[in-house]
């Protein structure tokens, strides 16, 4: 137990901050994912074949390629790409991007592909009459989406989004390969310096279980809230 003590003697405080880092990366990645989903869901539902193709390309490629490979692409290719863009604007110095940003972007793009599928499914399962009724009532497109479709869609999407959240949370463990100190990386460091990998990796597993358990409880509450009236 002294291994988990807070302060200089144990790894308690380090692991605590690492857990906060995992939560921060997961939330950021989830939000980045929503942003991508907001762009690609309309593309997938669009009438135009080319836009469909773009949307399908995104979800198919990202969901068909291992997460680790995407992370390596961002990790090794990210700063190169940024430097290339910067060089267009006349900036030639070396730019290093923060591991947090690379990591959340990589996981966010993966999470976005899953969220896109969830939103597409949810919108498609809303009764067509709802769209038509909104149109008949003379509500503009903006109002149609935000006041009529979105609230109904959220109710249908929440159970599946909670799966996406779980996937995202677990995927953040992969960012440890880029050196960002989250639960997995911290356990790796602690295991290396104490030569007690069994304890620290098992403890990491417990932390992840705790995170998934607590978030499931919170999401269930949300689900109840959005199902009012049904």
């Amino acid at each position: 137990m002294e291994l988990l003590a807070f302060g200089k003697t144990g790894w308690g405080d380090e692991l605590f901050y690492a857990t906060l880092m995992t939560i921060a990366v997961s939330i950021t990645a989830m939000l980045v994912g929503f942003f991508f989903a907001l762009i690609f869901t309309p593309l997938k539902l669009s009438k135009y074949k080319t836009l469909n193709l773009v949307g399908n390309f995104y979800t198919t490629v990202i969901r068909g390629v291992p997460e680790l490979l995407v992370i390596y692409l961002f990790f090794f290719g990210g700063s190169g790409a940024i430097m290339y863009v910067a060089s267009i604007f006349g900036y030639y110095e070396y730019i290093e991007i923060n591991a947090f940003i690379t990591g959340s972007m990589a996981i966010g793009i993966i999470s976005g592909a899953y969220s896109t599928e969830v939103f597409r499914g949810a919108i498609q399962s809303i009764d067509k009459g709802q769209f038509e009724a909104a149109k008949v009532l003379g509500i503009n497109k903006f109002g149609q989406f935000y006041k009529i479709i979105l609230p109904q869609m959220l109710r249908l999407a929440i159970p599946n989004l909670s799966n996406v959240w779980q996937i995202t949370l677990k995927d953040t463990s992969l960012i440890s390969v880029t050196g960002l100190v989250e639960i997995m990386r911290q356990s790796y460091i602690a295991a290396g310096s104490t030569r007690d990998p069994l304890f620290f990796y098992s403890f990491a597993a417990v932390l992840y279980l705790l995170l998934t358990y607590v978030s499931m409880k919170l999401i269930n509450k949300l689900e109840v809230r959005y199902s009012r009236g049904y």
Partner: protein
């Protein structure tokens, strides 16, 4: 880009080996735990639920690390015959993947068993078929058909999961891709080739499952 292709293709064999071995063992493990889940004994039931909860609630990376780095720490294990298996990263990866896919498969099969209409089992009983034969000849075939779409997703997820073998020094497709990227600094080209190979595999798995779904659909 072209020079890296044969190397990556060679590594694909490692990925496929890992995938097929873990799916093979995982299917049996999943079936075993699905049957335990359906057991009325509350302890057996809870045990099976705990297994699937733990393996589905933690990242695969943690599971591999516990098995590869963690288990080697137990002195006793080093003296048994298990050590022959556990010192090899290849077998550690397969054990971790098997346990992981077993947990997901058990959930898929459990829900498939539960969606079988009670009427079908009753019909079997009223025809005087023994409950063992009802299980093997009626419930299992229906459950397999029911679980095909979900199991297809699981195969694809597992194929992506095998990329984690590269973290325990195995040179699978992702491992070799990372090695080439870090030596040539051409992340995008390598990503396109390696990603293309993965997508090709996804495509094939997807179509095989689709074909099987059609073949075993109830309409026939």
């Amino acid at each position: 880009m072209i020079t890296s292709f044969p190397k990556l293709l060679g590594a694909t064999v490692v990925t496929l080996k890992l995938l097929s071995a873990s799916l093979f063992f995982g299917l049996f493990l999943g079936l075993f735990f699905a049957i335990l889940r359906l057991n009325k004994n509350i302890f057996i039931n809870k045990f099976a639920y705990g297994y699937s909860y733990i393996f589905r609630g933690t990242p695969l990376l943690v599971q591999i690390f516990i098995i590869y780095f963690g288990l080697g720490q137990i002195e006793y294990l080093r003296t048994t015959f298990l050590w022959v298996i556990l010192k090899e990263p290849y077998w550690c990866a397969i054990i971790a993947f098997t346990l992981n896919t077993g947990a997901y498969t058990s959930e898929i099969l459990r829900s498939a068993f539960q969606t079988i209409k009670p009427g079908i089992i009753e019909a079997g009983k009223s025809l005087g078929i023994s409950s063992k034969i009802i299980f093997y000849k009626i419930q299992i075939p229906i459950a397999i058909r029911q679980s095909l779409p979900a199991y297809g997703n699981e195969i694809i997820l597992m194929m992506k999961g095998t990329s984690l073998a590269s973290t325990v020094t195995l040179m699978d497709l992702t491992g070799v891709a990372k090695y080439i990227i870090s030596t040539t600094f051409k992340p995008i080209e390598v990503f396109i080739v390696a990603g293309g190979i993965y997508l090709f595999m996804t495509f094939i798995i997807h179509n095989v499952i689709k074909y099987l779904e059609k073949k075993y659909s109830f309409q026939q």
